[in-house]
Subunit: 148 residues, 10 copies
């Protein structure tokens, strides 16, 4: 059986070879774009229907289907501090603005956290006179510290 | 002279003692909320006017003014992997969705990154039938890999 | 102003000097025992009333009150892997049984986590013919992975 | 010969393919659920009878039997700080409540530890008006510091 | 499919076997020398034409072409602190002169950074009475800290 | 006696308070700009004349003079991987281009290194239609691997 | 109040100044030598009588008494891998012979551990024709892996 | 050729399959038990006679013989801090009692170390009313710090 | 193609099998002993003649020749702190005497370093009444800190 | 009481202020140069006579005398991998030549180590047509692996 990581690499390879896009794959699955990408990269389990639909359009076999359905052990970074510049910038945001985000969550909501489980994210493109911008929206349920 | 870290602690203390909010401080400075918070926590340099206005409403002295104006050496996390749960969830988002965000930036923009320098962020509250939600928007200029 | 860590040390010192117990302090605050202990060690913010009641019985001053009320930056271990044997055993449980707990949560609840925010814990003593036993109960809301 | 880790992966794969559950496997072995899961994941040695009974229902061969019987070198986390969110929450509990648990063990038992060897754990599901809850019970013999 | 790392090793091997140079390969691609080297080592994606031209002169097959075209996950050091002396000296420059470079960028440009994305570098040889010198020029666009 | 680190902080503070620049300080010392900055930040020892001239224009006392003259234990980064974005970009250059620089040094010079001891650097500003650019030139003697 | 670490340093200092030995201190306390040393270095809590007797012979004050009585947070090494050669050799023994000791415990006792809680140690001197030898005896109760 | 690590795994496997014990193997080699175990696990080189005698009783081939004879690069722990509980307890002993052992060596012998090279160890079983005990004896030559 | 590491392992294996010594190999190459050993272990590139002469006497094939000639990426330790006792002692020398060596280089030469590039080393055996001694001589060109 | 580290800093400061050299201090003590330097930097204990003689010529007080006499906890590097270039080069020697030294010790002496306890070192200056050279001689007793 393939690991979910290996299945993810097979997905990226097939997607490139066939000239597919993550958007096309999300359309096939009728699922949100970022969720679809994360699931195909091995960070979420897929239902049997989703896994089969994805494997079919990617022309991949039953071992990939099985891997896409499996429960993941999550965590996609190779190092605690990522080295790839595209990913590192988000770590840098955390380094520079982490305590700022914490202060503002506490000011607007009280003592608690943004859930990363009841959570969704979007990556959008916004045109701007100063040049196009990447807009990443993190949207998670507020969970209040609550004793029992 | 105070370090910017020490000035930041003095700011938090005075803000709590005086019953101020980050929003009130941002209003006084007529500056964006998250920028104001980050600057007062020591991650951005302030202009003389901003530093004096902030120190005045916080009833803090000239050493804090001087520290708020100084050029920061940025980086606000005590450990490479943050331990505070409110901040950790954002690290977890990076662990689970980092490669997803990377894939989508490349699909939508090509080879490059979201700038963390020409960048702004917002922390918002959205009401939802399932409970209020934290919405953090990261908005940075796309920078294309370009040789010289 | 004291940090919450320093306030916690002052609490432990006063508690020892006055011959108090965590149970007695929890009774004074009319709050759960483990929550009270964690809050007095600096891992939860207290209300003004709680902080003043605790400081009063501990014969501590207003700087401790202020620190006990402050929002914590959580994380109480000095090292990523704890060295104290009483705490290490719980890390060892995680090393040996972490994936077991994960498998059983997934089998009994589906894909998700036990919340550490909507959460309580108890430390109990159970008599047993083989010798008394420590029973630690971790009780957190199940949070299902849910996209938005 | 398979390592215990490889045998554990073969077990999870077979269990998924055959639609079995850890509970079913525990019933077959007539052993506690969490112990069975841990042993099949490679953290405890099994007796010949147990290993053969498990392999038989999982339709696995003698190399798995041999691996399940072998003495483990324990430790199941890939990193000192786990990245998988379901497991991380327990590390977070340790970060936030580790010293609290230590204080309460000392208050209720004196100077010593909860054994992680003479030890059992349960993962239970409790219905609650606020939503179902994960209840993990750690139950270990108290060991008093004792010189010789 | 080969990873970009494996393709890079195949490139180095073929280049050595065929007695080629990075300069020769850059001439074939009509691309800057350092960019060509970095791309062939797997740190930049190549266009189809470039990848095919490079593979052709290196007498390598279509799997290398495919790998050279793929989007990289960048980061070429095996350890956070490099051990190879030729590379380490640049880390040492950062250890000794990092804050100096930072001060001078701030003095000459204001608060901001040198882009490593809109960036090029050259490695040159300069004759000098005291012996030949390595001259490495890092040339990146200045990015000013700018809120949104 | 002050450490060189403490003297460096006193220098930065005085320089800011007096409205001086690193260039002005370099002119006073009649020394290269980057060397002056590095020496005043504590990474090079100064001669008695240099230390006194610098302290005089910075209006600092004999303890700073003594510290500026002392032999440094070099190394100016707080962490092995720097967190400040202005410095981090140079670490990123090393991550992405380290092996490229190594390959080109070996191609142009043979087996050896660029010295970081017989070495100088410049930070320059270059106007460009696409926006001003930071140009950092590293210039070190080539040292050939040579057995004795 | 002194920390136990600070009290330990005060003990070592007084012991040296007064020309005392650990053996003499153990005799005063009528306690085992190694236990006495460990307790005075802050790794075990002392009874009121022991702490007062020790402080009295060491001519130290009530703050040391209080610190010696306090419950320790154990862990006496400054780094995960000790640098002091006298201590390092024991880490080296663990590196070279750790799995050997594990195999022999399992062969002689079955699946379990040597307790480090119900435990004592001795450091002895043995004369030998080849030169005097250090003999360290670790003596802990065998704890069998036992589910509940 | 097998590495010594691979040979060690082959030894453990054969020993289990054939129902042998480390004691039996030591008897065959007429060598001390712990030395034999360490050597068969790859931490000491064996003579040709020993390697052949061991391979013969373990029914292993000439590649194992060759590996057992080879000079080891010693170090048997997978992590700097071991995770296996049976081995960890010895690390814990070092964490809690390391400085105690150091103090007692210096008190009894002067400035120096216990050799880990001119060294032997034993793992024994001692019956005790309170339960059987593991007794590990470390016995190394005292080496005095001596300049040349 | 073999990596230089793999070629190094093949060299050690062949040398053992054929009963050769490093000295014999150095004689064949007519090169210094330590240089020869380092080069055959993969830390220096060999000329075609050297590589072929070495492979010939070691009865190894053209893939080893090619690997021995390749430019190395240097760094031979598996961990930042070596675990093998024979190598560790040199790390310990650095831990205990590093600043001593630095002070003496500065006293005897001024501000600078011993080159590790224009460098040779010898490992010698010296008879001594107190027992034979290992004498390692490190001999590198002094490089003075020199700006440009 | 001063720590040995603090005493070492006081020694360096006084030595600089009084224009003394390590050689002069060694002459005063009639002790080897490197030993004297190491002892004054806190890595060896001094006799009462040596400590008093050193303090006298350095014009330092009885607290320094007491610290110089105390038993050290050895280890003088701030980081596991040193950052100072003068010290780093020796770490680099270990990275590049560590296994070479190990091979040659085994070839010339058999299985064992160079003692770092029965050990001395010298730092010498050798004139050479190619420029002056630093010669560091490490000279330690060979210790053979010997079981008991």
């Amino acid at each position: 059986m393939l690991t979910k990581m290996e299945a993810g690499r097979a997905v990226v390879e097939a997607k490139t070879r066939l000239g597919l896009t993550w958007q096309k794959l999300a359309d096939v699955l009728d699922a949100p774009l970022a969720w679809t990408t994360a699931a195909l990269l091995g960070q979420h389990p897929m239902s049997a229907e989703q896994a089969e639909a994805a494997a079919s359009v990617l022309e991949l076999g039953p071992d990939v289907v099985e891997a896409l359905r499996a429960q993941p052990s999550r965590g996609a970074l190779e190092d605690a501090v990522p080295t790839d510049p595209t990913i590192y910038r988000f770590y840098e945001v955390l380094q520079v603005y982490g305590p700022t985000i914490k202060e503002l969550i506490h000011e607007k909501f009280g003592d608690g956290i943004m859930s990363a489980i009841n959570f969704k994210l979007d990556v959008d493109r916004r045109e701007d006179p100063g040049g196009e911008r990447v807009v990443v929206t993190l949207d998670g349920k507020f969970l209040k510290y609550q004793w029992g």
